[in-house]
């Protein structure tokens, strides 16, 4: 059994983790959270989103967050459309994420466009920004299952990934948006992606909704994947059921990888410091295994 020796953690907490929080979290707290994540050793991170403040008021401070971003790490802003890009271009940030759902229904519910329409809008944007030296990460939602359509065809997922690769993106992050993928499905999809797109940065994004996230990560490692999206505290990630987990927790992933001798460069104690900054402002409690233990449990 051969696993990578090093793994890159892409922290999505400040963006994916906070966007579903109804109460506005003040900008200084967000900046402090991001700063502490950087101090914990995070090298790549989604920090905010240039969405309409009408739809996601939590992200209305995107410009301020981007302007205060750490410069030593890759601090990525999500931009859903051309409007978002225009806003982003007011800043000097050149690391962005775009997203499209493989499933039409999911994409429509999210951004009121079909998958095709989204791609048609994004391709020229990607071309322009690449010409201008941007780093572009493409997030592939519903790469395995869709909450409206059920099973998503692997062929459709692969096709969309190829399309993004051809458009020139630097990174592909394939997401199990509703936490339904099994380790076998994880292994199969990522083995194919690794084989068909060997030169692009491939990232796996798992949700712990049904407790399979670490199993899926272990399977993806076996497929050669060495980049994982995670969220400090496991915050965010579209949980569909009350109390259900969303994003897999950064600390649980870092703990498991570290214990298997796989280097991430992330310091767990400092990661807990970062989570401590944000927890008082969240509507939900943190239920990651490691965070619970760090708060007084028995840890030999």
């Amino acid at each position: 059994m051969s696993l990578p020796e090093k793994v890159t953690i892409i922290e999505v907490g400040p963006r994916d983790g906070l966007q579903n929080e109804d109460n506005f979290i003040d900008t200084e707290t967000k900046k402090e959270f991001i700063k502490k994540l950087e101090l914990a050793g995070i090298q790549e991170m989604e920090i905010t989103s240039f969405v309409s403040p009408k739809w996601v008021p939590q992200m209305k401070d995107a410009v301020s967050i981007v302007n205060a971003r750490p410069r030593e790490v890759r601090a990525i802003a999500l931009v859903p459309n051309r409007k978002g890009i225009e806003k982003l271009l007011e800043t000097d940030c050149k690391d962005i994420a775009v997203f499209v759902g493989v499933s039409d229904s999911f994409n429509r519910k999210n951004i009121n466009k079909s998958t095709r329409e989204s791609m048609a809008e994004l391709k020229p944007i990607i071309a322009e920004l690449k010409a201008d030296g941007f780093f572009i990460r493409a997030c592939i939602s519903t790469a395995f299952y869709c909450p409206y359509e059920g099973k998503v065809s692997t062929l459709d997922t692969l096709k969309l990934c190829h399309e993004f690769a051809k458009a020139g993106v630097d990174e592909l992050s394939a997401a199990d948006t509703i936490g339904m993928a099994t380790p076998i499905e994880s292994f199969l999809l990522f083995s194919k992606l690794k084989k068909e797109l060997p030169t692009i940065q491939l990232t796996a994004h798992f949700h712990d909704t049904r407790k399979m996230a670490l199993a899926n990560i272990f399977a993806a490692l076996q497929a050669g994947i060495d980049r994982f999206d995670t969220s400090a505290g496991g915050i965010g990630g579209c949980p569909f059921a009350p109390g259900a987990s969303g994003n897999v927790a950064t600390e649980d992933v870092v703990y498991m990888l570290g214990r298997m001798g796989i280097e991430t460069g992330v310091d767990l104690d400092r990661l807990v410091d970062a989570i401590d900054v944000i927890t008082p402002h969240l509507s939900r409690k943190i239920d990651s295994g490691f965070y619970r233990f760090s708060k007084g449990g028995h840890q030999p």
Copy 2:
């Protein structure tokens, strides 16, 4: 990647799950719980423990539980020592579990004997009972880590397993008692056990304390293991931190295996019926992924 086609679930909820509940749960409720688990398709199950009612009052109704046990499935009673055996022999139950910790410190804390002393007591008992046609399951606690000693030597674990095998037990259940084993450790230990003890029934017992249980099960499957201890609702299992998970939840394991096309014979809806019987009597809430979803979440 080759995985078993079928898996046997050994349900430990009625024993391991309930023994740490401080409030006595009435005997009829326990019987109903066991009955519903049988109806869900469970074929092997730990139903009670013949421990001193002084130490574990929850199990004071062991004789009554054993006498009312389902006869179509393997209903196992845990017996920690000769005293327990004497009590058990008042019934007609011939399926038992014994347990020993690989770690001396753990074994002492649990039953006030060194591992050696436990083995010295158990070996003649095993010989007697085997001669009398008993089925004997040996539970190996702290097979990976000990809460007092830290890392447990794999050699010590293997040695104890060999000793039990030589003593004539039918089944070996190796447990990650504090939920610290990684998938790699799971794969390595169970690969060795499978190779060195190919004829004995080998079972893996994982705790979800650090969210690695399903990953460990996925790794053990790859090592050829097709028997897993699980607990309906994830109840029990020595959680050392408040709110921390203990035993991996039967429903999460059955869900993952089923979704990978691995047959368990367990019906998830009926399993939820069984959990519904016991939840009102528990001091903790159920936090398994599947159970949460079964209660109104979005499940495509």
